[in-house]
Symmetry: C2
Subunit: 107 residues, 2 copies
DNA sequence: TCCTCATTTCGCGTAATCACGAAATATGGA
DNA sequence: TCCATATTTCGTGATTACGCGAAATGAGGA
């Protein structure tokens, strides 16, 4: 994870529709969801949806796999993890004590 | 954390200079860093810096505290934590097994 | 091969974002 | 009070992102 990848990823998430799409894919799980179904659930025009999925894919936040006629989209949670690590890298100059309790793990 | 807050936060991080500023503040720690020092370290014009700090503050990613003549900026890591939780909310439809190993905690 | 469904690419008008100079405001010292 | 330092606000021109209709492409099935 470097600066420019992180910017692409944050930029991809910084949009109402794309954030909805990503969260939907997270909830749907790793098996993937057909693009068309995403569009139907969120009421999106095909070209608009396609553009947003492409943006998310370019940013490494989702992956696409063709399954017969459909394209299944699934989230890449490793990228989310990479973003967090990048953000908190060398937190408090490496001083564990100063950092403790500032960002408790999601669990 | 709701959708529109998350969008503001991701949007704030989706910018080269702002991402640098935020990471710098994370590394500097919770005691805070004077705005001017941030500007000097990253070579930013005062008005540009001020605008970016305001954006980060509006997004809840940093907090500002006046200390005599200077304004100290410190990161709010709870917001980062909130963003991650929001992103991964109801991951895999709540199926722990399907979700396991997809996003190992940063630690 | 021909047709249809699923998805992507292109093009355009509109709207939001950016950097930065200049001016305004806040704070404490002489 | 007057001034210097630290920071914010305002205005402007240039770049970039958005939604979406129309057309193109890809992948089976008849």
């Amino acid at each position: 994870m470097d600066q420019s990848y992180a910017i692409d990823a944050f930029g991809a998430l910084a949009h109402d529709t794309r954030l909805q799409i990503f969260r939907l894919l997270v909830q749907r799980g790793p098996a993937g969801t057909p693009a068309m179904e995403v569009g139907r659930l969120l009421d999106l025009k095909p070209s608009t949806l396609s553009g947003h999925l492409a943006t998310l894919k370019r940013a490494g936040l989702v992956q696409a796999e063709r399954q017969h006629r459909e394209v299944l989209y699934a989230p890449r949670l490793q990228t989310v993890n990479g973003l967090v690590r990048f953000l908190l890298e060398d937190c408090c100059g490496g001083d564990e004590a100063a950092c403790a309790g500032l960002a408790p793990p999601p669990a």
